[in-house]
């Protein structure tokens, strides 16, 4: 690299570091909001987040960086540096299309609407929620139009979470999935219902087990922590400080365990991002679909296997000697793999789960096109749930208002959950081609081979490769539903 370019690179790296620090600070403010903040803090926090969003945007679009990038494009950069510049350009291009005022307005509208959602949902008050969701959806349409005035409005939003993905490409994937899931859903419905007898699973034991489990799969507790929240989530993007939450219901032990495996999957990805990418545009996953592939792999391919429950049962007996009395690993496995259409996505089984995503995808596309109004959401929801899953939601609270995503402006986000399921199944197949039966490893509590495989093929690349290319190299496959359907057929067929 010539001397002039060295100086430019230093300034470019400083700029990337500033953007990254602002993003990390905002992530911590959101983490705190969900895990600790007192109720009266909501308004002040909303202001702080909007200010950080505006400053983050201002840094992103800083005009001097264009000159820096132009100089660097003439210089000889290594592949990592070139990828940093490429992703910086992508981020800058998106940001430049959005006026700072819109960024701030969106941030404030999301905070307000999340706040109202938290209060309106328990009261089953869709009208109250709609009053804040309507202006937010209007802002999201403005955002989509600003990002790409000509294309499918939904694609402009989807592109933030899954760069390059388009609704038109997802539609046939979802259609094939629906078709091939139908017989599995029908077959599973024939199997008798099974539920663990209600005993008491103390929260203290659940938290201790959560820590043990996280540590067993490779989570580094010196560089992270585990907390509790209503909806489990992972907060990454700070090197050395990766956090996730779990939920604990003293009436049953499965939800905590699957949540820990899911979130640990995300957290292991974050902890596996390369140190050399710290505070650069590459210190991230290339998409939410890629991120979700990790959580789904650990949650479903590891955590819903019979072998996993044989491995974890002794630890459960240690933590819950009374509740585990008379329970066998096979009972736990049956409870963790019951398939039944149900109205709540986060409680859905692995087989019906993606039908919940189809419902949201259809609604979001219509909402963004302007074919569906916010006030008509409950009707569209109930009709779609009936059509896709054959049931009616018991209420708007457990229907159209069940997820926080729309309240938080996250439109175009849900499809990444299904992409995650598909990639997870392809990664699991690729692992088995190389290292043999995954269950045999799980049975022995040997999680390092899987983690090493993921570190090598996925984590260490950060955002250097786009998701399709990353997954093609990692699995040798093009995105498709075969591996996922094969996995479900083996487990539930």
């Amino acid at each position: 690299v010539p001397e002039l370019a060295v100086a430019s690179w230093t300034r470019f790296a400083d700029w990337m570091a500033t953007v990254s620090d602002l993003r990390g600070a905002a992530a911590l403010l959101r983490w705190d909001r969900e895990t600790a903040m007192p109720p009266a803090g909501a308004e002040g926090r909303a202001h702080q987040l909007a200010t950080l969003a505006a400053l983050h945007h201002r840094e992103l679009v800083r005009p001097e960086v264009d000159d820096l990038i132009a100089e660097l494009e003439g210089a000889e950069l290594d592949a990592h540096q070139a990828a940093m510049v490429r992703e910086a350009e992508r981020d800058r291009e998106r940001a430049t299309r959005l006026p700072e005022e819109l960024v701030r307005a969106l941030s404030e509208a999301c905070s307000r609407s999340v706040d109202v959602w938290h209060e309106a949902r328990p009261r089953n008050d869709f009208a109250a929620f709609a009053a804040v969701l309507e202006p937010l959806v209007e802002l999201k349409r403005e955002e989509a139009a600003a990002l790409d005035g000509d294309g499918e409005p939904y694609d402009a939003l989807l592109d933030e979470f899954e760069p390059g993905a388009r609704a038109a490409d997802l539609e046939p994937v979802f259609a094939e999935l629906r078709l091939r899931l139908a017989p599995l859903v029908a077959a599973a419905a024939e199997r008798p219902a099974f539920e663990l007898r209600r005993r008491r699973w103390p929260a203290s034991g659940q938290l201790a087990l959560a820590r043990e489990l996280a540590s067993a799969v490779g989570f580094d507790g010196r560089a992270g922590l585990i907390a509790e929240s209503a909806h489990p989530f992972t907060n990454g993007n700070h090197r050395g400080d990766v956090r996730f939450t779990t939920r604990m219901d003293e009436g049953e032990p499965i939800g905590n365990i699957t949540a820990v495996l899911h979130e640990a999957g995300h957290a292991l990805y974050e902890q596996g991002l390369p140190e050399a990418y710290e505070r650069t545009t590459l210190y991230d996953a290339p998409s939410l679909g890629a991120h979700e592939s990790q959580s789904r792999l650990w949650e479903n391919h590891v955590g819903r296997s019979p072998a996993f429950w044989r491995w974890v049962a002794p630890a459960m007996r240690r933590h819950f000697p009374e509740a585990m009395d008379g329970l066998e690993p096979a009972d736990l496995h049956r409870a963790a793999t019951l398939v039944r259409p149900s109205p709540i996505r986060v409680a859905a089984d692995e087989v019906t789960y993606n039908l919940h995503i189809v419902l949201r995808f259809e609604i979001e596309v219509a909402l963004m096109r302007g074919d569906l109004a916010v006030r008509d959401l409950p009707g569209a929801w109930d009709e779609g749930l009936e059509r896709l899953l054959g049931l009616r939601p018991p209420s708007d609270a457990d229907g159209v208002m069940q997820d926080i995503h729309w309240a938080d402006g996250l439109i175009g986000y849900f499809p990444t959950y299904t992409l995650g399921n598909l990639y997870a199944a392809q990664l699991a197949e690729a692992f088995e081609e190389r290292h043999g039966d995954l269950e045999a490893h799980v049975e022995r509590g040997e999680f390092a081979p899987l983690l090493d495989f993921l570190r090598e093929r996925v984590h260490r690349h950060g955002r250097r490769l786009g998701t399709p290319e990353l997954m093609r190299r990692a699995t040798g496959r093009e995105l498709g539903v075969d591996a996922f359907v094969a996995h479900l057929t083996a487990a539930y067929g």
Copy 2:
């Protein structure tokens, strides 16, 4: 206000809000660092804090604001608005003298040095600490020179925490205090030592008691929370989200109770700042001395009175039925008011406490003048402690390295503790002139009259009045040691 000025005011208010949000975000990052952050997060957090400090500085010095202020100074502003502009000018003037690179370097040096201090202190390794303190002190000297190249270097730093205060004005106050404390220290030393028998005071009971106590004195738990940390502190400046920590030693109950009263005193001040000042330059105390007057009043004038221990004893019996067996309120009071020269400031009694401050004040002035080198700190410390308190520290860890302040770049901060003691005593006198014996209120658990008095005379003014003027109006007195010595004489004479 003419129309042009209305538009300018809106832009000025937006600027104040941005500065305030950045400050609040940084405060939350520091809170999290002390209460939750995993060890490996230190480096990344240091970067984030430095970036927020740099952006905060950049906002503060934004040149357009000069024009706004010039326009507003020609307009008819009310007294509150005029004070906002005045404090904005003060903040901008200080900030303008400091280059952004120095601000960032100071933030990073402080984070690094706090980190090293945390590790070096338990190992009693002053040399390791000195290696990071030396460059930090060098930066502080640079800071002082940039702020005021001609004056006493110490004053430039002191001015950040106690605007307008000067070392030359503090010296005679400290000298008088030393003189008048001497007979009290001597008299108290004659009284026999007393310690509560060591029993177990479970942490869960201590935390429950902390919450009850905070609520009893008026702390609003919907707009705040209580956590635990090694050194208790309060985190304010977010409207609706005021937090403090306490420390809990299962071997004794007094430290938690006095820490809660102290920090609740700070927190009540923050919760009492007026809503109309939210996200402006006035949403703060005018100085740390003013802030500390509140914590000291609640800790010492309320919390070390015999009446307080009579009032709190029934709650203690509820939370600690075993440990309280056979203990009378008078025993608790004796334990909370034992006077003995000791090497640790935070464990010092009310009488000898200010001698610890004198020691730090003398050392800091010499350090800033360049009359004392970092490597000579242990010697200066030991000599000063012997001279002022008649004892030698058992180690550097419990001597020169005991406080986090210097590690965190807080030079010029300690004297505000003594100013707080003096103001607290004057406020207590003024309260009694108006509302009668404070102890009679405390005995009945009636804390609202005191809180209302402080809300009315101190909290509601935010930073509108400078500390001397605020306290003159609140107490009818000029700053002096009489009230404080009278209080100590009554309690310990």
